[in-house]
Every structure is written in structure tokens, then in C-alpha cells.
């Protein structure tokens, strides 16, 4: 054993943890090497002095008086708290459920109204012998079906290319194409924690809105609620971290603000997402 090897054992020696051949080898080295012996003595000496200094009874600190009482009282309070928390959660669930029901009802009534109007328009057009609205509508339907089947047949790869295509399009703010009579706004603003809750809320809303796309040839746009309803907001780029699909609709977005479109026209949904919270949800159908 050389000096370097011997000195590397200093902490083990201070722990009295050396046994067997290692201890014999070190002892043998120390018996021959004055420098190492001095080194070990100095280390032992220092160890003892530092230990004494740090355990000097005068320097020891004590918990403040009454700590135990305070602590046990806090613990008792803390463990009583969960009941309140659950009550709050239940109340929140009730509110969320009624909000969803309202949203669904409003969408369906609008669908019914606009469906009637669509038929009226078609009849009017036929009567006038002008543009064939029915044909336009069926074209829109075909396109949305195609998007739909792409999404369903191969959910992974084609989906992202589709999203890329959507992103690549230059976004043109929607111009209301129908008369104010058919305009309807459904707004719900709520805060939900977790992507699952956000996904569930969106899926429900889009399911409710899907008949409109079919009946009305609407386009759904997901826009930044911070800028909504500004006429021409600059929309943040969407990418595929969150993907939701309902019928002809597809939403793609990152954890930031989110934008997505469907194949139809004239409807917009504004939503904001951050990493863990679904913040606002505003849906406007024109």
C-alpha cells in the first residue's frame, strides 16, 4: 500500500469501518510511514475537535415552546379539511353538468332553426332557378366526410399531415355570409383542470355543434379568446399535442392557445389551454 492508497482510507478509518486485510495493510503502512501517521493523527484530532465544537451544548437549538401544541392542532385541522374539499368538487360538478346541458340544448335548437332555414333557402333557390344550394351543400358534406374517413381510418400519420395542411392554409377571418337572422352565439366560460376535463367539454360541445356543420356548411375556427372577438387577430400556430375529433371536426393544438378548423363555414370556437388547465371556452356560431 502506498501513501495515496492509505490516505484514501481516512474516512473509513475515522468510522472504524476497516476490517481484515485492508486494516492490516493500512496498519502496516502507518507503522512504516511517518508522514501518513501524522496525517491520520491530524485527521483524528480534527475530527474530534470539530465534533466537540458542533455538539457544544451551549450552541444547541431548541424548538420554540408550544411547538407540539401548535403542530398537533394544525394536523387536526388539516385532516378535517378534505370533507370541505369534496363538497366543493361536488358543487363544481353540478355547475359543469348544467352548463353542458344548456350548451347542448342551445346548439340543438339552433340546429333545428338553421335546418329549416336551409330548406327554405333551397326551396327559394329552386323556385328562382338560381344557384343550386343543395349541390353546394352536398359538396361540403362530401368534403367533410372525406376528412372524417381520413381521421378514422388511420388516426396517427394522416391525422398529422392533415393538421399540417390546416396549418399551412392562410387563415382568413370569417366573414359572416348569412343574414343576422341565422346568427346565434353560444357562450360558456369556465375553468377546468386537466386535459381530460378539457377534452370532455370540447367533445361534448363539438358533438352538439356537429349537426350545424352538416346542415349549414359552417366552418369552425378555434381562436384565441384573448383577442376574441377582435376582427383580425393573429392566431398562434397550432401543433398536434392535443387532438380531438368529433365527426367532421378536428382540433389540434399545443398547450398554448389553440386553433383549429373544420371544413364547414361560419362558426367559431374560442378556447385557451395551458399545460394543465382548460381555461375558457367560448363558442360562437354565425
Amino acid at each position: 500500500m502506498n501513501c495515496l492508497e492509505a490516505q484514501a482510507l481516512v474516512e473509513d478509518a475515522l468510522d472504524n469501518a476497516l476490517t481484515g486485510s485492508r486494516k492490516r495493510a493500512l496498519d502496516l503502512h502507518l507503522s512504516r510511514c511517518d508522514a501518513c501517521r501524522a496525517f491520520f493523527d491530524a485527521e483524528r484530532n480534527e475530527h474530534r475537535r470539530w465534533f466537540q465544537a458542533m455538539n457544544d451544548p451551549e450552541s444547541l437549538r431548541h424548538l420554540p415552546n408550544g411547538f407540539a401544541d401548535q403542530f398537533t392542532a394544525e394536523m387536526a385541522k388539516k385532516h378535517a379539511a378534505p370533507q370541505r374539499k369534496w363538497a366543493l368538487l361536488r358543487a363544481f360538478r353540478r355547475i359543469a353538468a348544467s352548463l353542458a346541458a344548456m350548451l347542448l340544448f342551445a346548439s340543438l335548437s339552433y340546429a333545428a332553426v338553421s335546418g329549416l332555414r336551409q330548406m327554405e333557402l333551397a326551396n327559394q333557390a329552386e323556385a328562382e332557378g338560381g344557384t343550386d344550394v343543395t349541390e353546394v351543400t352536398s359538396e361540403t358534406m362530401e368534403a367533410s366526410d372525406a376528412l372524417d374517413s381520413v381521421g378514422r381510418a388511420a388516426p396517427s400519420a394522416p391525422q398529422s399531415s392533415e393538421i399540417g395542411a390546416l396549418e399551412a392554409q392562410e387563415f382568413v377571418p370569417p366573414v359572416p355570409q348569412v343574414s343576422p337572422v341565422s346568427q346565434s352565439t353560444i357562450q360558456g366560460a369556465t375553468t377546468m383542470t386537466g386535459k381530460k376535463a378539457a377534452a370532455a367539454a370540447l367533445t361534448a360541445a363539438l358533438a352538439a355543434a356537429a349537426p350545424l356543420a352538416a346542415a349549414n356548411g359552417d366552418e369552425y375556427q378555434f381562436i384565441d379568446p384573448a383577442t376574441y372577438p377582435a376582427a383580425n387577430p393573429s392566431y398562434p400556430a397550432a401543433s398536434g399535442a392535443i387532438t380531438l375529433e368529433t365527426g367532421a371536426m378536428r382540433i389540434a393544438g399545443t398547450a398554448g392557445n389553440l386553433e383549429a378548423r373544420s371544413r364547414s363555414n361560419n362558426a367559431s370556437v374560442a378556447i385557451a389551454l395551458n399545460a394543465t388547465q382548460f381555461k375558457t371556452f367560448i363558442m360562437t356560431i354565425r
Binding site: 474516512e11 485527521e43 484530532n45 470539530w50 466537540q52 403542530f71 394536523m75
Partner: protein, 187 residues
């Protein structure tokens, strides 16, 4: 009855016993690590809450102190990280050696010496401070420290080696006298 058993059967009584038996020592270690009374109070509080809430996880394979300390150290590290880590450089924290310091003989008085040693610990960078506190204040062996800090034994030895060097350097500055061990090392 073991404290752990008592906490399981009667949490409040167990908590009181835990505080009575381990509270001061825990608080002392906490203070030496974070160097503030408020910080130490908070660390002890959180550690005790965790211990009582997770007592079912205590297997008894390590001592209760080892478990307490490893929880405490974990909270302390989290605090350090959230404070964006404590960056201690020797130049700006090194206590100045005052010109009017007492003469070396007096400075070497055991009490002043002890005070200087405790003061030096406070000036160590955080991860060196942790090994020194457990080594000298708690008189732990290298494997015990490794267990509490959850780092390999080799890392403990390396940090001890470095920490002791820094301690000696600080002491040489404050006491103004490099102790005997340093003299011998120079040879």
C-alpha cells in the same frame, strides 16, 4: 412501544412523543442546513407532517432518524432548488479577517475555536454543508450519510474531502492560524 407504532395507533400522541424525543435534534440539524430559524421551523414542520402521514411506509429497516433526516434533506433540497440554488462563492462570503482581531493565543481559546468551526459550517456551499453537518454534528458514518442524502458512498467521501478542505481554508482565514493538522499536511 416504538414511536412509529405509537404514531400508527394514536397519531396525536405519537406526534407529541416524536416531537418530544426527536424535535430538538431535528430542528438543530435543520437550522444548520438552512441557517435560518424560520426556515428550520418550516422544514421541521413539513418533515413531521410527512412522517406522520406516511408512517405506514416506514419499514423499520433503517432507523427512524435516518428516515426523518432523509425527508428533511429532501425538503431542504427542494427549497434550495426553488430559490434557484444557493450560490456561494468563497470570495463574497468568506468572513473577513479583521485587522483588530484578538491576538492568536486568545483566538485559539477553545471557545472561540468552537465558535469559528460552527461559523465556518454556515459559510460552506450547501452540498458540502450537508455532509459536514451529518458527519460532525450527527456523528454519522459514511454509509449512514449516503443513506440520508441518497448519494453513493464514494460521493460522500469525495464531498467530505472537499468540504474539509474548504472548512480548513475558512478556519485559516478566521482564526488566522492554520491548525496543527494543516501544518502536518504541508510536510
Amino acid at each position: 412501544m416504538e414511536i412509529a407504532e405509537e404514531i400508527k395507533t394514536d397519531p396525536e400522541k405519537g406526534a407529541r412523543r416524536l416531537i418530544a424525543e426527536c424535535g430538538d435534534r431535528l430542528y438543530d440539524v435543520a437550522f444548520r442546513l438552512c441557517q435560518s430559524e424560520d426556515g428550520a421551523h418550516d422544514l421541521v414542520n413539513r418533515t413531521l407532517v410527512r412522517v406522520i402521514e406516511r408512517i405506514a411506509l416506514f419499514s423499520g429497516s433503517s432507523t427512524l432518524y435516518t428516515w426523518l433526516y432523509s425527508i428533511l434533506v429532501n425538503f431542504w433540497r427542494m427549497d434550495m432548488r426553488s430559490k434557484n440554488a444557493e450560490i456561494v462563492t468563497f470570495t463574497d462570503t468568506m468572513p473577513d479577517r479583521p485587522d483588530d482581531r484578538p491576538d492568536p493565543a486568545e483566538a485559539l481559546a477553545v471557545k472561540a475555536d468552537a465558535e469559528a468551526i460552527r461559523e465556518a459550517v454556515a459559510h460552506l456551499p450547501a452540498h458540502y454543508r450537508a455532509v459536514i453537518v451529518f458527519r460532525y454534528f450527527e456523528d454519522m458514518t459514511v454509509p449512514e450519510i449516503a443513506n440520508v442524502l441518497r448519494i453513493p458512498e464514494g460521493t460522500v467521501k469525495f464531498r467530505l474531502h472537499k468540504a474539509k478542505k474548504v472548512m480548513r481554508f475558512i478556519l485559516a482565514q478566521t482564526i488566522g492560524v492554520s491548525d496543527a493538522s494543516n501544518e502536518e499536511r504541508k510536510q
